[in-house]
């Protein structure tokens, strides 16, 4: 198989909280993102999805672990080499109202990446910016405006244009449509998908909105309290969620398809604190299927079904039985 564009190995990011201890924002995650793929990263607030994104584009330094871009360990690079890699890995932020400098003209906002990376010739910058406006579908007169003169959708388009400025291969989209209205959200999602085809981009698409993730990504990773609890192809994950958290999450999304009646799993309580977590299953306190076993071990993310990774001891035992013999397989089928 080809080498994945992005390979994340045992990535950890802890924050020290005064008087309280260590906040395990991202706790030992492993991910491969092949070139041209959109990997959706979903989870609720505080689960570490944005921290993962920020670490990938080196806006945060990891506590430990490695990230490979085309086989190059990005955190081992220094100086010029590091800068070169940063050009190839960009980010689109959540809130287009706060991610653009209000004091700068759009033209200056879009020129900045070139200047930082040593391209100072005005004619070249202008040519590049014009190209950016073309591919994102913006009119030229936008250059002479300030961010406050634009609506949310156009602002996010500028955020996207800025991320594309240095011709990257990999873009972290950190909730790029969460702050936008439904009718604008569709415009931005379509733009992102068109650009991906045109420029052969690879996305890590971070969002809390599972409907959006289902629409845009080929694979989905579900995060809970700093850990990836499930990873599968989008269709597979939505059709057969295996982890109890994913099941609850999917059942909780309000849908506009009023004919589809669903069993709703209501989780009790809130997401527990990620500060000094116990070495047990992170979902233990809220899991409707939890047993004593879950309190003893921290389940690793394992391949349970073809191309379907889950970190749950319950799922594991089921599959084991399945491979034992046909009798237990029958039992299992009747159970299901």
């Amino acid at each position: 198989m080809n080498q994945p564009l992005i390979k994340i190995i045992n990535l950890k990011k802890y924050f020290t909280i005064k008087d309280k201890g260590l906040l395990h924002a991202v706790d030992d995650i492993n991910l491969d993102i092949p070139s041209g793929e959109t990997l959706g990263l979903v989870g609720e607030s505080g689960c570490g999805k944005s921290t993962t994104g920020l670490t990938l584009v080196q806006l945060l330094q990891p506590t430990s672990g490695q990230v490979f871009y085309n086989g190059i360990d990005i955190f081992s690079l220094k100086g010029k080499d590091s800068k070169k890699i940063r050009k190839k890995m960009q980010i689109i932020f959540q809130d287009p109202y706060s991610s653009l400098n209000p004091k700068k003209l759009i033209k200056n906002i879009l020129s900045e990446p070139y200047i930082i990376h040593g391209i100072r010739k005005k004619s070249i910058i202008d040519q590049n910016i014009n190209h950016l406006l073309d591919i994102t579908g913006c009119a030229k007169n936008i250059l002479a405006k300030y961010p406050h003169e634009l609506d949310g959708g156009k602002r996010q388009t500028i955020g996207i244009a800025r991320a594309l400025a240095l011709d990257p291969d990999f873009i972290v989209c950190d909730e790029p449509v969460s702050a936008l209205d439904v009718s604008i959200q569709a415009q931005i999602l379509n733009l992102l998908m068109d650009l991906q085809k045109k420029l052969n981009l690879t996305y890590l698409f971070i969002t809390h909105d599972l409907s959006v993730v289902k629409h845009i990504s080929q694979r989905v990773a579900v995060m809970y309290l700093g850990k990836i609890v499930e990873l599968a192809q989008t269709e597979e994950l939505f059709a057969h969620p295996l982890h109890p958290y994913t099941q609850a999450l999917l059942s909780a999304i309000p849908s506009v398809n009023i004919d589809i009646k669903r069993e709703r799993i209501i989780l009790k309580g809130d997401v527990p604190s990620p500060i000094n977590p116990k070495p047990i299953c992170r979902f233990f306190e809220r899991c409707p299927q939890a047993t004593e076993e879950c309190e003893r071990i921290e389940p690793p993310l394992e391949l349970k079904h073809p191309n379907h990774w889950v970190s749950c001891t319950k799922v594991f035992t089921k599959i084991q039985k399945e491979t034992d013999g046909t009798d237990s397989k029958k039992k299992l089928l009747t159970k299901v």
Binding site: D181, Q187, L189, S211, H215, I216, L249, V256, I258
Partner: protein, 331 residues
């Protein structure tokens, strides 16, 4: 059925430095006892302004009701003095706000804030009110002993439960929930929706549920009103509107929405942006974005017309067809 609330031809505007923002333009709405109505629309559609007009909490200097009447159980509210309205608010009509972090006062305990409702409207002593506050907390699934705590000691979902407890304290006839779950995570949102569902059966209050999330409305409401640029452009039962939307805006809204049960390859994006309430277009407010726009849409403001027994649309295209049909049957 008795009408709990009836809004007739409401016009609300805000004065700003850039000019007058026409937030609500000729809105008509009524809600019956025990009915659950969803009010849906995008940012700036006038949903919250409508809600604030009902309880008269518009910003005092800048916001004003220019025209129209609001009847609550037959009593006209817009011209009533402040002390009368104070007796209504939180007692007969109450509201759950969007952001539970900012709608609770950080320097008072939860007990004091819920208890205040009882002291104000039922003249209870502090001790009695405190006890009642504890009971209300139990109803929304929070242990009564937590009345002594401050808002910052609660999580987001819990705070919203506190907001719900306070708003239901007097068993109001009308409850307005303004995006009560927008600031919450999906699993917490499910908890809060479940709670509202339980409580609405228990108390049989009329509910106006404001949301931009069509899925949330479908969970809770029987009827839904779609707002655009300050007026209702489509109204009907959830069943009708979700299955067979008639207004081009509503149709566009559903087409642009990714859903977990749909298999759309590409979303159909609506062109343009939400109309600027500072300079609204003449005629139908949706005409600059409408894919089916006609010449007359630019001059004539369509009225909300009945097209089926439980379905109303404000669109010249539909109302004309309706009229034609009627004519043909007469002939």
């Amino acid at each position: 059925m008795e009408k709990v609330l009836e809004i007739k031809d409401l016009w609300v505007s805000y004065k700003t430095f850039e000019g007058t923002v026409k937030a609500v333009n000729g809105l008509n709405l009524s809600i019956e006892q025990g009915e659950h109505l969803g009010l849906v629309g995008e940012t700036g559609a006038g949903k919250t302004t409508t809600a604030l007009s009902i309880i008269k909490l518009l910003p005092p200097r800048t916001g004003s009701i220019d025209k129209g009447e609001i009847f609550f159980k037959g009593i006209e509210l817009t011209k009533k003095p402040e002390d009368f309205l104070q007796k209504m608010r939180g007692n007969k009509i109450s509201m759950i706000f969007q952001n539970p972090l900012t709608s609770l006062n950080p320097v008072f305990t939860i007990g004091e804030q819920i208890g205040m409702v009882f002291m104000r409207h039922f003249n209870l002593s502090k001790g009695e009110a405190w006890k009642k506050a504890g009971e209300m907390l139990e109803i929304v699934g929070i242990p009564a002993r937590r009345v002594e705590e401050y808002p910052h000691q609660f999580s987001g979902g819990m705070r919203q439960r506190v907001g719900i407890a306070a708003s239901l304290a007097c068993k109001p006839d009308l409850l307005i929930a303004d995006e009560p779950t927008t600031a919450l995570d999906v699993t917490i949102q499910a908890q809060v929706l479940e709670l509202i569902k339980e409580l609405k059966e228990k108390y049989s209050t009329a509910l106006i549920m404001i949301s931009h999330n069509l899925g949330v409305i479908a969970e809770l409401c029987q009827n839904v009103a779609v707002m655009y640029a300050g007026s209702i452009i489509e109204y009907g039962t959830v069943e009708r509107i979700y299955k067979d939307p008639q207004h081009p805006y509503t149709q566009g809204l559903f087409a642009s929405l990714p859903d977990i049960f749909d298999k759309k390859d590409r979303l159909t994006a609506m062109k343009g942006v939400v109309s600027d309430a500072l300079n609204l277009s003449e005629g139908c407010k949706f005409n600059p974005r409408c894919p089916l726009v006609m010449e007359k849409c630019k001059s004539i403001q369509p009225k909300l017309v009945k097209i089926k027994s439980d379905h109303y649309v404000a669109c010249l295209l539909k109302s004309e067809m309706g009229v034609k049909k009627v004519e043909s049957t007469i002939n």
